[in-house]
């Protein structure tokens, strides 16, 4: 591959890593369109590369959340059972789907993600003194006890996150966070942290199938993974200096533009 393309892939990775760390996303929303629109990969090839990079990005966030004991590791393990089943199903059916169908699914994911970011939907969880789990908010100093509600519904819903993740190369936080927060009654910060922990495992279960089946383009995946790793380190330092959540709305506009570009590419206009 041309050195220019290799440099572009490294830069795509760095940008995805920074955005991932700043906005708490896996980076797939940025990597997949960049690799298809700029480098010219098919959506399926880009999804395979993206999943490898998401593993590298998610670990940075996960380590931070685990060290601060925000992520609920037990809840993550439970929900990952159905998510991994979904991810395996997604990776398997991707072999039988036309690339344009995967692209359409990805565009839908982009639009829903952008809409959620603009609306900033979240459910406030009240302290439950009989709750089995406790979360200490370092910023407010407040302890919140909570219990898990609607576990069977949340468990089933997470399988959808797995299918979407391995089909399209995104982390699946789009489904996991609202499921944990709104359906299962988990505080938003815990849901975000637990999702970060889960994203790595979900990405692993999709990526390993692509990798063992020889569907990962090695040099592209290597440059992008190195880039996201560097980007995640830079992004995590930047996130301490300013609050990324206030920039989420601007990022969502970019996601909408990317969705339009993907539609134009699908129509053969780009």
């Amino acid at each position: 591959m041309e050195p220019t393309f290799l440099l572009i892939m490294l830069l795509i990775g760095i940008a995805a890593g920074i955005l991932g760390a700043l906005f708490g996303i896996g980076g797939g929303l940025f990597i997949v369109p960049a690799l298809t629109l700029i480098v010219g990969l098919t959506t399926k090839e880009a999804a395979a590369v993206s999943l490898v990079s998401i593993v590298a990005t998610s670990i940075g966030g996960t380590v931070f959340y685990l060290d601060n004991r925000v992520a609920n590791i037990r809840l993550g393990l439970l929900l990952e059972i159905s998510t991994v089943i979904g991810a395996i199903i997604g990776a398997l059916i991707s072999s039988y789907l036309e690339d344009w169908i995967v692209t359409v699914i990805f565009i839908i994911v982009l639009v829903i993600s952008a809409t959620r970011m603009i609306l900033g939907l979240k459910t406030e969880v009240q302290d439950d003194e009989n709750g089995k789990f406790m979360f200490h908010d370092v910023k407010t100093g407040k302890d919140t006890r909570y219990d898990l509600k609607n576990v069977p519904v949340g468990f089933t819903a997470c399988s959808a996150a797995g299918v979407i993740s391995s089909l399209t190369g995104v982390g699946g936080g789009l489904v996991k966070i609202p499921v944990m927060n709104t359906i299962m009654g988990v505080p938003m910060k815990v849901a975000t942290a637990t999702s970060s922990y889960m994203i790595g495992i979900t990405a692993f279960s999709g990526a390993i199938i692509y990798f063992l089946n020889g569907q990962v383009i090695l040099d592209v995946a290597a440059f992008t993974a190195i880039g996201t790793f560097i980007g995640a380190m830079v992004g995590s330092r930047l996130s301490k200096k300013f609050d990324g959540s206030s920039m989420k709305k601007y990022f969502s506009i970019l996601v909408f533009i990317v969705a339009i570009m993907m539609i134009l590419r699908l129509e053969g206009i780009m």
Partner: protein
């Protein structure tokens, strides 16, 4: 040491080793000396979260948190099955 700390340390060490191997592998690959290192590096990066789950399971076992050990073992079993699915 609790499950969270052990998992965090494992993820950190595993991904650092993986990325280092990817960098070395990429140099070897670009010098037309084969892709074995590159494949090994990417494999280590990809399996890092899975190694994390194994360490979590052992830590939960040491904490005698058997309910969650069972949950983790089911997840490991499904993940292993997934690796062999073509």
């Amino acid at each position: 040491m609790n499950a969270e700390h052990n998992t965090s340390m494992t993820l950190k060490i595993s991904v650092y080793i993986g990325i280092a191997a990817v960098v070395i592998g990429l140099i070897v690959y670009l010098l037309d000396m084969g892709d074995a290192f590159l494949k090994a590096g990417l494999f280590i990066v990809i399996v890092s979260p899975f190694i994390g789950v194994i360490v979590t399971t052992v830590s939960l076992y040491l904490e005698r948190d058997m309910k969650w050990v069972c949950v983790a073992l089911i997840l490991i079993a499904i993940s292993v099955i997934g690796m062999f699915v073509k």
